[in-house]
């Protein structure tokens, strides 16, 4: 991830949003995300049917007007379950990335600012976490803490902390060399003040991009965990769990697996599109007017 230059300001955000508006892929991604949030927040009320309405007579029905996504092996409406499961995915995604952000940025900030033994210690710990495949580590943590929504959030949060630490540290290393940080030191500002007011705002851009991309991966990880039965427990719906349940019916009742799978796919894709668009827009190589002026001199 490229480190930010010191040539940006609030105007950048406005330009970022305007650029996003003109990028069709980013717009699509944003639309999907908005839909996701709406469904996630208001799912239970929007859902046409109850998620636990078991009706053995209506089991394994293909998609129809009454049940646009069909029904599952217990007669439950798949559409409703997919919608309510969105909430789980959102929750896990938001909280776990929140944990990773908080922990990772703090660690990266101190490691990058102070360097020396602290930097070594913290980064080697991060390296240890990095060495494990994401899923394996998450599974291990859940195995220790017991399956469930909360432990899934913690596990994924821990697993994604190192990437935030690294991105933060890289940004801090470059920003702390800038003259305005030296100027703040020369004024007598305390280290904490410098980190809070000067360093953090100037590394916001790569962190924003990383957050967006990590949300995609977090949701994917949650799906994997619930597929393995380690996430939120049944009968609460979760996309990964629904995939798992649907795998025996691939030929007979394809709708059981396809719709939750498509939901996962679309959500991850949407976060990636938005993240990529943000990265393009927040790239330090964008010319400001002053730089254009200087180049004409």
């Amino acid at each position: 991830m490229s480190a930010p230059t010191a040539h940006r300001s609030e105007g950048q955000l406005r330009r970022a949003l305007s650029a996003l508006r003109h990028d069709p892929l980013a717009l699509t991604g944003t639309a999907v995300l908005v839909l996701l949030v709406v469904v996630g927040v208001a799912g239970p009320w929007l859902a046409p049917a109850g998620i636990n309405d078991v009706d053995v007579d209506r089991m394994l029905q293909p998609p129809s007007w009454a049940h646009p996504f069909g029904t599952d092996e217990l007669g439950r409406d798949v559409l409703s379950r997919v919608m309510v499961a969105a909430r789980v995915s959102l929750q896990v995604g938001a909280v776990s990335v929140g944990i990773a952000l908080l922990a990772g940025v703090t660690l990266g900030l101190f490691a990058g600012y102070y360097r020396g033994w602290l930097d070594n210690l913290l980064m080697r710990c991060m390296d240890v976490l990095f060495a494990f495949p994401v899923l394996l580590l998450a599974v291990a943590i859940v195995a220790v803490l017991g399956p469930g929504l909360l432990t899934a959030m913690i596990a994924i949060g821990v697993v994604y902390t190192p990437i935030f630490a690294r991105v933060t540290r890289a940004g801090v290393l470059s920003v702390r060399e800038q003259v305005f940080v030296r100027a703040a030191v020369s004024i007598g500002a305390s280290d904490l003040r410098i980190m809070r007011r000067h360093v953090l705002p100037n590394i916001a851009a790569p962190l924003i991009v990383q957050t967006s991309l990590s949300l995609a991966f977090a949701i994917l990880s949650e799906a994997a965990l619930s597929f393995l039965g380690l996430g939120v427990q049944p009968p609460a719906p979760a996309w990964g769990r629904m995939l798992y349940d649907g795998r025996g019916f691939v030929t007979d009742a394809w709708w059981l697996g396809v719709f939750p799978g498509a939901a996962i796919f679309l959500t991850v894709l949407a976060f990636n599109l938005v993240g990529d668009a943000l990265r393009d827009v927040l790239d330090p190589r964008q010319l400001t007017v002053n730089e254009a002026r200087r180049s004409t001199g």
């Binding site: 010319l287 007017v289 002026r293 004409t296 001199g297």
Partner: protein
């Protein structure tokens, strides 16, 4: 010294498309340089001095629209297709840019980089181009050139690196050397060395030189003719003695007065209030009007003054063509 111009630029205008609209970097500029002669383009940042040269040699950025005509060695350069222009430029024009650190490729030896130009445009063999590289490094004053030819750029100091860049620029024995702020990033003692080197090379090789700078002292030392630029236009142009001795435009006078004169009294310096206009919003009249200390003709505000000759070869952009000393008074 022939009378034909090596590079002649006529009515050159460069407009750059930016997110906030078109920026006119250069407007209607004419200048030329002859063999064995040095033309200095002077101005502050944003004056268009670099851009006019880049546009003239076909190196303007893609977002730039260039109009006007450029003749290089009597060929209509602007009419040539891109590939012919590249070859002609490579063969006949050498460039020296400001920052010696980024002008050189850090992973290639100095000898390789100097030899490259010879191989590309003169068709020399490896061995011949290497021998030529040693010759050139020696010519620009690099001690022990035969050993240093295999050294890397980071092993040289700033001044030596700039000499290497000059050697690269001279590799094809160009008719024209273009130096864009070549000594701005160097110490003043190193600058003196480089200025002396270029002058010496010009005497020996008869190269025409276009030297772009904001430092009037350097101009006084190396230029035969000067063109002073402001906000994309030439405001004064002529032989260096005339322009420095009897500046006709208030901007030129102001630039000359802004330098602290060591050994002079310690009084406050004469300054020009304000700053140059943005190329995105240039006024219809004289661009210097808001800052002009003279303002003797109300037409200047809305009408662009023409370039008029105040003496042979000395032109000033003004409405009052009687000989002035830059302060609106008739000189005696």
């Amino acid at each position: 010294m022939s009378d034909a111009a090596v590079l002649a630029v006529s009515d050159l205008t460069v407009t750059i498309g930016t997110r906030r609209g078109p920026a006119r970097a250069v407007a209607g500029v004419d200048w030329s340089v002859r063999a064995g002669e040095t033309l200095a383009l002077v101005g502050e940042s944003g004056s268009g001095k670099s851009m006019s040269v880049l546009a003239a040699t076909g190196l303007a950025p893609r977002a730039a629209r260039v109009t006007g005509s450029v003749r290089l060695l009597d060929a209509d350069f602007t009419a040539l297709p891109a590939d012919r222009r590249r070859r002609m430029r490579g063969r006949h024009v050498g460039f020296v840019f400001q920052d010696p650190m980024t002008s050189l490729n850090p992973v290639l030896t100095v000898g390789r980089q100097v030899a490259e130009a010879g191989e590309e445009h003169l068709g020399l063999t490896r061995r011949a181009s290497r021998a030529r590289a040693v010759e050139l490094l020696d010519l620009v004053g690099i001690p022990s050139a035969a050993q240093r030819v295999d050294a890397y750029p980071h092993q040289f100091s700033g001044g030596m690196r700039q000499r290497v860049v000059i050697a690269m620029a001279l590799a094809c024995e160009p008719d024209l050397l273009i130096a864009d702020e070549p000594t701005t990033a160097l110490d003043v003692t190193t600058q003196a060395q480089i200025v002396e080197l270029v002058a010496d090379l010009q005497r020996r090789l008869g190269t025409a030189v276009v030297w772009i700078t904001h430092d009037l002292g350097v101009v006084a030392g190396i230029a035969d003719t000067v063109a002073v630029m402001y906000a994309g236009r030439i405001v004064e142009q002529g032989p260096v003695d005339a322009v420095f001795g009897r500046p006709g435009h208030p901007y030129t006078s102001a630039l000359l007065a802004a330098r602290p004169d060591p050994g002079g009294g310690g009084g406050d310096l004469v300054t020009i209030a304000g700053a140059p206009p943005s190329p995105l919003a240039l006024p219809a009249g004289c661009a210097f009007w808001p800052r002009c200390p003279v303002r003797s003709d109300a037409r200047c505000e809305h009408e662009l003054p023409p370039l008029v000759g105040v003496s042979p070869a000395h032109h000033v952009r003004t409405f009052y063509p009687q000989r002035t000393d830059g302060e609106g008074h008739e000189a005696s």
